[in-house]
Structure formats: C-alpha cells, structure tokens
C-alpha cells in the first residue's frame, strides 16, 4: 500500500515543499504587502488571505469528499470511503478555522463576534450538517454499512452546503461581501495587488489540507489492515 515516490527531495514530495514555500509566502507577504486603505476595513483586509482562502480550500475538500463518496457507491471499494471521510474531516477542521477567522474579522469590522446574518448562519448550519455526518459515522460499527450510509448522507450534506452558503444568502440582505447586493472583495482590489497573494494562498491552504488528509488516509489504511 505504501508507495515510495521517485521525486523525493530531502524526504518530501515536491508538492509538500511547494506547500511550505507558499505558506511562508502567504504569511510573510500577506502581512507586509501594500493593501488598499479603506474605511472600517483598514488593515483587517489582510484577513482576506486567510479567511476566504481557508473557506475555498474547505470547499475543495468537500467537493473531493462528494466525488469519493459517489465513487464508493459505484464501486464498493472501501479505499474510496476512507478518502471520502478523511477529506470531509479535514474540511470540517478548515471550516472551524474559517469560522474563527471570520468571527475575528466580524468583531473588528461589524463590532460583534457573531451577527445574525444569512451567510454566517448558513456557514454554522453547514458545520452542523457535517458534524452530524461525523456522528453518523461514529454510530455504525460495520465498515461497509458505515461507508454506504455515510456516502448517502454525504451527498445530502454537500447539496445542503451549496444551499446554505450559495443560495440562501443571496435571497436576503447580508452584511457579508459578495451577498445580498454587497460587492465582493474583487471590487476593492483595484490594482490587482492583493491577487498576487490571494491565489497562491488558496493553493497553499489546499495543499496543506491535502497533506493533512494524505497522512490521515495512510494512518487509516494501516489501522484497517490490522
């Protein structure tokens, strides 16, 4: 099961080095770069490199979880189930990080740790759905049954996430940028300066998430073999 990659450099695959480099770039450049000076936002605009990118990579994790779940249902191969569940777990972890960074941002721009807003409530409800997914997995002992049932619930969870964070916030007024008639951040970033950090940051967080998931998948495979 354990494959040795040919492209090892000092014991790590190339994409892990890329992840480390991009994370350093994100933190250093993200805190040093020249940002637009805007009322209310001020320096907190730098949270764009953390909050938004973490949520992007969470959505990438959830999409992978959905794809592996469907592949499990088609093939009944337990390896897909391991991948589906571990990507979802990493997604939940990133989601919690996203909620924390978002809460911090809300405190310094909107004045409260949590505001009653469609987007925020949708994000919280998404976390509830995925936490229910984890509880569901915990409550079944048989591996095949667990895999099948959680894959079915996983498809529900993913569609619900789309409803919660893409559809419902657009129906109402929302404080959150990009919703309810609010402009997204791309409007403020006139000189495209922030994009030079934003896109690498998305890749960095996605790679870090894959790295975490990769390790957990390998641990899970070993523990299942025993």
């Amino acid at each position: 099961m354990i494959k040795k990659s040919n492209s090892l450099f000092l014991g790590l695959q190339w994409w892990k080095w890329l992840c480390i480099a991009l994370l350093f770039y994100t933190f250093i450049q993200g805190l040093l770069i020249e940002v637009p000076r805007l009322p209310i936002l001020h320096e907190t605009i730098r949270n764009l490199f953390f909050h938004v990118t973490i949520w992007f990579s969470m959505i990438i994790m959830m999409i992978s979880s959905l794809i592996y779940g469907i592949r499990y249902l088609k093939s009944n191969n337990l390896d897909y189930d391991i991948k589906a569940s571990e990507t979802a777990y990493t997604g939940v972890f990133l989601g919690v990080l996203g909620l924390l960074t978002g809460s911090l941002w809300a405190k310094f721009t909107w004045g409260a740790w949590w505001v009653n807003d469609a987007k925020l409530n949708g994000a919280a409800a998404t976390m509830l759905v995925y936490l229910a997914y984890i509880v569901l997995r915990g409550s079944i002992d048989d591996e095949n049954k667990k895999a099948r049932i959680s894959a079915v619930y996983g498809v529900f969870a993913f569609t619900l996430m789309l409803v919660f964070i893409m559809i419902l916030p657009r129906l109402t007024d929302s404080l959150h940028p990009g919703n309810g008639g609010n402009p997204g951040f791309s409007k403020y970033d006139l000189d495209s300066n922030m994009r030079t950090v934003f896109y690498p940051a998305v890749i960095a967080w996605a790679l870090l998430a894959s790295w975490i998931t990769d390790i957990r998948i390998r641990i899970k495979r070993i523990s299942l073999q025993e």
């Binding site: 759905v129 049954k145 049932i149 079915v152 498809v155």
Partner: protein, 217 residues
C-alpha cells in the same frame, strides 16, 4: 405506478391497524399546543405565533416520520425487497408521509387557532405554505428516517441528522407563511413558493437517486 398506489394503501392499512400510534401523534400535537397555550396564554407578536406554529410542526413531523422506517423490522424490509423495487418504495413512503403530515398540520392549525388564536389574514396562502412545508418535511424526514434506521434505530440520531437539513426549508416556509399572515400579495410570495418547490424537488430527486443504495443490506 400501481406498485406505488398499492404500497400507499398498505401503509394506510397498517397505520389503521395500529391506531394507537396515530392517536398518540394527534395527542402529541394537542398536548404540545395546550402546553404552549398555558405558557403563552396569548400571542400578540405575529412572528412568535408563526415561529411557534412551525416549531410544533417540526417536532410533530420528526416524531411522526421517524417511526416510518424504525417500525419496519429487518424481516419485513426483506419481504418488501422481494416484492417491490427501491424507488417505488421510497416514493410511496414520501407520499404517505405527506398525507400524514397534512393530517397532523390540519390538527395543529385547528387546535392552535382554537387555543392561541388565529391572526392569519390570507388563509388560502397560509394553507399553501402549510402544504409546501409538509411536503418538504415529508421528503427530508422520510430519507433521514431511512438513514437513521440503518444506523441502529436511534431517535437522537434522527434529530441530529434531520434538523440541520430542515433549516433551509423551515426558514423559507416561515417567511412564506409570515407573508401570508400579513396578507401580502401573491407576487411577493411567488419567489418563496418557487424556492420551496425547487428545494423540495431537490430533496425528492436526491432521495429517488440515493435510496437504492441504502436499501440493500
């Protein structure tokens, strides 16, 4: 199609044979309304009236539909397996649960209006909201009940799994029925009706596609 009708008839018959379960549900709704009446006396605030109505609906629905798969034993599921296919089975369940929810919500509305009062201005619109809400509850809860029954017949699990999934439906339904209470024009509510129908068809489609995977053991 005939299989679906036959399965619905069978559901109604088996419900009729165990009347105590159905009567228990009605009593559940009535006593909940009565408890609310004793604690609130009278509700002047319209959003509170509306929210309380839907919360009673929510709990009655979870109680009613959770047993729709939990009561089917392993042996009986095996018997259905030989008789019919998964897709007609889940459709029959959803339609039957819709009927059940409609009966329960009418009782809820009746007793709720009787005890707590009925400030609704546009009653037909409110009934449409009630119908759509019941349809959504039945589609979501039938599927979740199937999932929960596979995971060891755990009632707490049923609530954990279904409440977050019901949130979008509940939120849109509550808005819809609030507009009906205020007697707003249909054009205002059109959007909500379309969203509700879209959400219900989404859940219905997912159940239709995914139930066959749950069903074989």
């Amino acid at each position: 199609m005939s299989a679906i009708i036959f399965l619905i008839q069978k559901e109604i018959q088996s419900e009729w044979r165990q009347k105590y379960a159905f009567n228990g549900l009605l009593l559940y709704v009535i006593s909940t309304v009565f408890v609310c009446y004793l604690s609130f006396r009278q509700i002047v605030d319209l959003p509170t009236w509306n929210a309380l109505f839907w919360i009673i609906q929510l709990f009655a629905g979870v109680n009613a539909i959770s047993k729709s798969f939990l009561q089917e034993g392993r042996g009986r599921m095996l018997y259905y397996y030989t008789l019919t296919n998964a897709r007609s089975f889940i459709i029959a369940k959803i339609i039957y649960n819709l009927l059940l929810m409609l009966v329960l919500s009418s009782f809820n509305l009746l007793f709720y209006s009787l005890f707590i009062g009925n400030p609704v201005i546009d009653m037909p619109m409110f009934l449409i909201a009630m119908f759509l809400g019941s349809a959504g509850f039945s589609a979501v809860l039938s599927m979740v009940s199937a999932i929960a029954s596979k995971a060891g017949n755990n009632f707490a699990l049923m609530s954990i799994l279904s409440f977050p999934i019901l949130i979008p439906l509940l939120m849109v339904t509550i808005r819809f029925s609030k507009n009906a209470m205020d007697g707003l024009a249909w054009s205002v509510n059109q959007n909500f009706a379309v969203i509700l129908v879209a959400l219900i068809s989404m859940v219905f489609g997912l159940s239709y596609l995914l139930f066959p995977y749950l069903w074989r053991d």
